[in-house]
């Protein structure tokens, strides 16, 4: 893979779902987006516009209806190697303890039990779940389950990291800790990250580029380059004037889309 | 294998209902210890359906079957050679029973038309006999309904609740039915006279038969076994029903030992004293089967009755 090959390439990617009444529903239309290796891209867009669908195309879990989806220069037909995907829904294994869930990816990759255990212990501490190693998911709170999923995804050190609203269920402070943790990890590895969020502060604070998507069917509306210096202190950065300018730009762009989405919804109804 | 080279073998015999009185000599021989004394190792298995027992024998899983002689004729019509080695009974030991409330209108086999007649199972000896009776009395078997009524309790229940008008069965069901007054004997084939009257000759029933080639290959062993059986038949002839019943496992008597004893008493007469085939027996069987069995009807001319039984062993046992 030469330096110029994007880690992720979407070219006019389109996704059509069969619709409730036998017709079809276009969730994504002609989405074109390249993510370079080592780049951190955040995605914002009106609810229900097609953000999760975009991630599922990149992950290889759903095939595109039309257009090209490539990871590492190779068209996606199955799940690409070294992809990490943290789902929007609860996706940890209900029959595994926290410790086993976090170590799962390592075990799948052939790590020994004790090796997986010690490395997962480290991650459990990083996400602040020490003491809950032996708990089953149903014994955890929503935010704790999210953090298990986070550790589960990052422990395998994927080259492509897809995250779908990972920090939505966390309190402000924990969220900032997790953001810092994520940035630290990412800076070390040069992984390409696509990060979906509804929190614009988060979107700008973390990203190299913020992608604003249109209301369904999703296309790329604007891409806002975030030229803030790294390493960033997420807590402080949002007081800088450059940040506020970016915030307003993204906010404005998004607001238009939400309006469109609502009007569409109303006209459909 | 030649006789001289023959190895002593252990014999497996499938009995078409180990507990049925008509097949009593099988278990009795074992109980009396005659097999052991004769120097053969015989194990008895049970399988309620006669035809199934024979299929198992033909498949080589057992060496002999205690069942009705008529099946040897039936099987020959299907190109399988099976020969009766010891004839336990020269009559079927069956009776056509008519439900008490139908006895007034159903007085002989001539009245079979339009009736529901019970047999243990289609294709069994009871079925053959019923058809034979019907044909002899001018009733075409298609004119009545054959009902699978089983034996024992299911048969009793069928008579009881009108599931069948009449049916063919053995002791102790007969005894139970007559004792309770639920049914009467219409045609009695438990005695020589009754059988002759019903079928025009003796109809040998309960017997031990084996595949012809097995018999040819194991003459010494079979001789020993025949010795044991003939001893048992003599025992039955010279002892009372109570004495015989005492020799049998208590379980066979069920919850009513008296009934079991009575059944043995009623059926004792049907057993031969010597294990010999009655002279006119095979021909009666062939006649009945010609009327009642498609396969036999089709091959009636080709059937060689001599191959269906042998008296060689029982004669030598004298």
């Amino acid at each position: 893979m030469t330096q110029s090959t994007p880690a992720i390439r979407l070219h006019r990617a389109t996704k059509v779902f069969p619709d409730a009444s036998g017709g079809s529903f276009t969730a994504m239309r002609n989405v074109t987006l390249d993510v370079a290796p080592g780049e951190f891209v955040t995605v914002v867009g009106p609810t229900g516009c097609g953000k999760s669908t975009t991630l599922s195309l990149v992950s290889g879990l759903e095939p595109a209806s039309a257009g090209a989806v490539e990871v590492g220069g190779v068209p996606v037909t199955a799940i690409p190697r070294n992809v990490g995907y943290m789902f929007q829904q609860d996706a940890v294994l209900p029959w595994r303890t926290v410790s086993d869930n976090v170590g799962l990816g390592l075990r799948y990759r052939g790590a020994s039990k004790s090796d997986a255990r010690s490395r997962s212990q480290d991650w459990i501490e990083r996400v602040g779940l020490a003491g809950f190693e032996k708990y089953y998911p149903h014994q955890l709170s929503g935010g704790m389950r999210k953090r298990v999923a986070l550790a589960q995804t990052l422990i395998t050190e994927p080259e492509i990291i897809l995250m779908d609203e990972p920090f939505g269920a966390l309190d402000v402070q924990t969220r900032e800790l997790m953001q810092a943790e994520l940035l630290r990890l990412w800076a070390g590895t040069g992984a390409a990250v696509v990060f979906v969020t509804h929190d614009l502060t988060e979107a700008i604070a973390l990203a190299d580029r913020v992608v604003v998507m249109t209301a369904a069917p999703a296309t790329v509306k604007t891409i806002v380059e975030v030229d803030l210096p790294r390493p960033r202190d997420v807590d402080e950065i949002r007081l800088q004037p450059a940040f506020l300018r970016l915030y307003r730009a993204v906010w404005q762009s998004l607001r238009e889309e939400v309006e469109i989405a609502r009007q569409k919804g109303a006209s459909r109804g | 294998a030649k006789d001289s080279a023959e190895q002593p073998v252990s014999i497996k015999i499938m009995v078409g209902g180990l507990d049925k009185v008509i097949y009593l000599p099988a278990k009795l021989t074992e109980q009396l210890g005659y097999f052991k004394e004769a120097g053969v190792d015989v194990s008895l298995l049970s399988e309620p359906s006669g035809a199934q027992a024979e299929t198992v024998m033909l498949a080589g899983e057992v060496d002999g079957v205690v069942g009705f002689y008529d099946h040897t004729v039936d099987l020959q019509a299907k190109d399988k050679c099976v020969t009766s080695v010891v004839q336990f009974a020269d009559v079927p030991g069956e009776a056509e029973m008519v439900a008490a409330d139908k006895a007034a209108t159903l007085t002989s086999a001539k009245d079979f038309t339009g009736r529901k007649l019970g047999v243990t199972s289609p294709g069994s000896s009871t079925d053959f006999l019923t058809r034979g009776l019907a044909v002899r009395n001018g009733v075409d078997p298609s004119k009545y309904t054959t009902v699978k009524a089983g034996a024992g309790s299911t048969f009793l229940a069928a008579i009881d609740n009108g599931g069948i008008d009449a049916g063919m069965t053995t002791d102790p069901t007969i005894a139970k039915l007559t004792n309770t007054g639920k049914a009467k004997v219409l045609v009695d084939m438990r005695t020589k006279e009754g059988t002759r009257a019903a079928l025009g000759g003796l109809y040998p029933g309960s017997s031990l038969y084996m595949p012809c080639d097995f018999v040819a290959a194991h003459k010494q062993t079979i001789q020993k076994m025949a010795n044991a059986f003939v001893r048992t038949l003599a025992f039955i002839n010279t002892h009372s029903a109570a004495e015989i019943a005492a020799k049998m496992p208590t379980d066979f008597a069920g919850s009513e030992p008296k009934l079991y004893e009575q059944a043995i008493n009623d059926s004792k007469g049907m057993f031969t004293a010597d294990g010999l085939m009655p002279a006119d027996g095979p021909k009666t069987v062939l006649d009945v089967l010609k009327a009642s069995n498609e396969a036999v009807k089709a091959k009636a001319d080709k059937i060689d009755l001599k191959r269906t039984f042998t008296t060689e062993f029982v004669k030598a046992a004298h």
């Binding site: 069969p18 879990l61 759903e62 095939p63 209806s65 037909t77 199955a78 799940i79 | 359906s49 006669g50 035809a51 199934q52 024979e54 299929t55 033909l58 498949a59 039936d74 099987l75 299907k78 190109d79 399988k80 529901k116 199972s121 289609p122 294709g123 069994s124 079925d127 309904t145 054959t146 009902v147 699978k148 009524a149 089983g150 309790s153 299911t154 009793l156 229940a157 069928a158 609740n161 009108g162 599931g163 069948i164 069995n293 498609e294 396969a295």
Partner: protein
Amino acid sequence: MAELVLTETPVLRAVRGPRRLRVHLTRLALVALWLGSWELASTYWIDPFFYSKPSAIWHKLVVWFTEGTASGSVWAQISVTLQEAVWGFVLGAVTGVVMGVLLGRARFLADVLAPFIKAANAIPRIVLASLFVIWFGLGMSSKVATAFVLVFFGVFFNAFQGAREVSKVVDDNARILGASRWQLLGTVVLPSATSWILASLHTAFGFALIGAIVGEYAGADKGLGLLIAQSQGAFDAPGIYAAMIITTVLALLAESVLTVVERRLTRWQPRQT
């Protein structure tokens, strides 16, 4: 293991056509292979007296359908057995679902009754069949009863477990929304247990047929069970197999009806790829 295509690459709609064809062709090939080798084997190596052969079975079927059987038209036998099986199936399935769902939701009742139901499930049905003949007579009811007891338990245990596997949060939600006991059963428990119940129904009709035939075995004047008994009595292997084939076809027909029902009832689920 090359055949074990785990559902990794979701299949597009368009691919369905040829895929279907491939499925049918493979099935056909399997049947042909099986019948061919059977015919060959029974002609040259094994004794058709025991194992019969396809051509003889086919001939038997032709005779039955054109000339009828010893106990009358083959359609009459089929219709008797089918009626018994359908009744047993319907009664058993309905009772099984109702009792399963109710007990699945009523802890105390379930705790009390569980050992009895489990015990009843262990009673050898073949013995029951002859007891039923004694209790209910030789008519249809004894066969329906036999079919019933075979159908009931499978359906019951699945409905029971299905009623217990209802997602707790969905159940809580419905209760918060004001569902009464019965509304909860109808709108949450039953739909959620549907896959469980359907899974058990797939085996149930087969069991109903078995029940009817076992019942006929224990005593009857009509039906496929009688045909089988007759064929066994007459050493007529083709007859045995022919009756088995008719039974099988009946089960497959019932199965296809069930599949249609299933598709309607599980419309809400994500389509499996």
